[in-house]
Point group: C2
Chain length 392, copies 2
């Protein structure tokens, strides 16, 4: 009834959206460090934010606005504007007061070091340099990166049976402090679909659960997690199922890209949990696996140490029983309902799977119909290196 | 009323207890790998075990015995006898069937790799070699080590006002998969105090909460966590408060030793949380801090990145508010009730504290009277190295 056609134009895929990234001196050596997204007509905004109670100033600022439409968001990297109190919120007001004339109800988003006041003058200087007619989505995507090693974008043209079409495009950044409890570090999505704010928020909430909220790099939930969807409705077209499928495809892709680009990560692992008492318990187990240090270091060592998988399942808090548990690496079953299948002959096969950049570890708890998939990465020397000296 | 005098005789400090460690070929290069504790009269046993639902065969075997007295425990390292099902329990019966004649109701405990059948013949061969008259507590403490870099023992003579005395001695092992949810990896305590089984269990449960259960190396709860206290009552003396104080001093010391010897750890950090809504919420926050990868890697990097402390408090799930939160490194207050105190001048002082092998990070949530202290370590390259290739 409808089809999704992939585009490469990121947050500029939808009609009427403009974006760019420039350098104002927050990052070293001329790297882009502030970005904007601008729409030539006003947008409804749907959003999800971190559950961290130390949520950052930009989130406090956004929430204080209540119900509103906007056509502009500015995003800076290198400074999270978190734990900066009321002064941090006032800094945002000062920055946004310098917006160009056509901008209405601007919002701001930040990522970087926590607990340092925003270098606002540099950003204010940059605000004048933005070319609101620019369509440079890739530069915007680069400007919001922190320890990311590649930028993350995805966009679709959604064509409906009657020949009408709308677009959805997104950019995101991730890398560390990734255990989204509601959203991820930062993700900005633009669409020209003719979607109401309420339906857009409902779909965003639903899709978040199985995408960003199923991803973890290090089990630390950030102060700045933000997903915003901007809809300017220019296409005059909408189809709920198609919109949801496209949004899910975008957010799922970006969540996995974020894990794949997790700090120091060399592997992207899907933890497929089935047979749990209910879906919630499956989620608890899947997330315990993606966050276990012992599982993550075994992945890094390419060691099929399935005992750590079993132990983590048992320690997760969910109902579990060694007599009903089954564990597989891809199609290789190593433990089946109390039976130790793993032997020396299996070692090579398991090791070959562990060497792949992407694979699935399945745990069937054998107790019910609860299922959940979580996404995690390994933890190696690079993670320690990046995080032992993050601020310098 | 009473005094505690420290002894160096570990699990042989109490009258009538014997112990030794020998090599039977589980470890390489002649290292001790099985240990026993023997009492020349029968003992009551108090115990706490892991909450991991994949609890190991020795724990299943112990629980199946019901109420009993014993005079012997054999402990092996290198193999956890976990995820080995009923066969693992039968292996224990086979090993214990070879006990020497004077042994009654023997128990077994194991630590090491999960998911591999016990190399029982080697242990059976060793059972005949045990000299039940040996008093070599340090050899026993060495034999139960896995990735520990030093053995862990503590013992007291408790002298009461009337001149009578009793003794408590202990050995423990730790190092990895340390996030005791009830006890820690393995800890064996012997006493000649004339204590009833009920009171001993009650005191053990109480003391466990603020000692082993407050310690974490990596947030992974093992399948084999075990604390056992053996009381042969030979001193004919008891004093509840003195016993509790001595037991607390022993378990607190051993818990901290375990964290200090955490895999790859270079620092032992006390997380002192006060001002929480209640004690439970304080515990949640303190444990979130001791388990945060971002906090642990900042410690390793000796980086006073207090923003990660704040973020972890906020993400812990406990009630928290940036306007009432205060964070200090030792006596250096870096953030006070919404006020950013940390500046360049403070950086050197904070860095000097971070370089110490042991220090305290305090968080006053400013909301109530809940308090808890947790103990954690840093996470560096060595942890990754040890755990990326644990089985080989």
């Amino acid at each position: 009834m409808y089809k999704l056609i992939e585009l490469t134009s990121g947050v500029c895929a939808a009609d009427g959206f403009f974006a760019d990234g420039i350098h104002v001196g927050l990052k070293k050596e001329g790297a882009k460090d502030i970005a904007f997204i601008y729409s030539d007509t006003l947008c409804d905004v749907a959003s999800v934010f971190t559950t961290n109670k130390m949520f950052a100033a930009p989130i406090a600022h956004f929430r204080a606005k209540g119900d509103f439409q906007t056509n502009f968001v500015v995003i800076n990297s290198k400074n999270a504007n978190a734990m900066t109190g009321d002064a941090g919120v006032r800094d945002i007001d000062e920055v946004l007061a310098t917006c160009q004339e056509s901008i209405v109800n601007p919002v701001m988003s930040s990522t970087g070091v926590i607990g340092v006041r925003l270098p606002k003058q540099k950003i204010i200087d940059g605000m004048k340099l933005f070319d609101l007619n620019a369509k440079n989505p890739h530069e915007a995507a680069k400007a919001i990166m922190t320890t990311d090693t590649f930028s993350k974008e995805k966009a679709f043209r959604v064509e409906l049976a009657d020949g009408s079409a709308f677009h959805i495009g997104a950019m995101a950044k991730g890398a560390g402090m990734i255990n989204p409890a509601m959203a991820t570090m930062l993700c900005f999505i633009t669409t020209d679909a003719d979607v109401s704010k309420e339906i857009m928020q409902e779909i965003l909430d639903e899709v978040t659960v199985t995408t960003f909220n199923a991803a973890s790099v290090d089990g630390d939930t950030s102060t700045n997690d933000t997903v915003m969807v901007f809809a300017n409705k220019k296409s005059k077209t909408f189809h709920k199922e198609a919109f949801k499928e496209a949004l899910h495809a975008i957010m799922h892709f970006l969540a996995l890209e974020m894990v794949r680009d997790g700090e120091g990560a060399t592997k992207l692992v899907t933890y497929k949990v089935t047979g749990a008492k209910d879906n919630h318990e499956a989620e608890v187990v899947a997330k315990a696996l993606s966050n276990s240090l012992l599982v993550k270091t075994a992945l890094f060592g390419e060691d099929p140490n399935w005992g750590r998988i079993a132990s983590t399942v048992g320690a997760s808090g969910a109902e579990a029983d060694p007599k009903t548990l089954t564990i597989s690496f891809e199609d290789l079953c190593v433990y089946k309902r109390g039976e130790l299948l793993f032997d020396a002959a299996m070692e090579d096969k398991a090791a070959a799977i562990m060497k792949k950049p992407r694979f699935t570890i399945s745990c069937d708890l054998g107790l019910g119909n609860g299922a959940f998939e979580a996404y995690g990465c390994d933890l190696g020397y690079e993670y320690v290196k990046i995080n032992a000296d993050y601020r310098t």
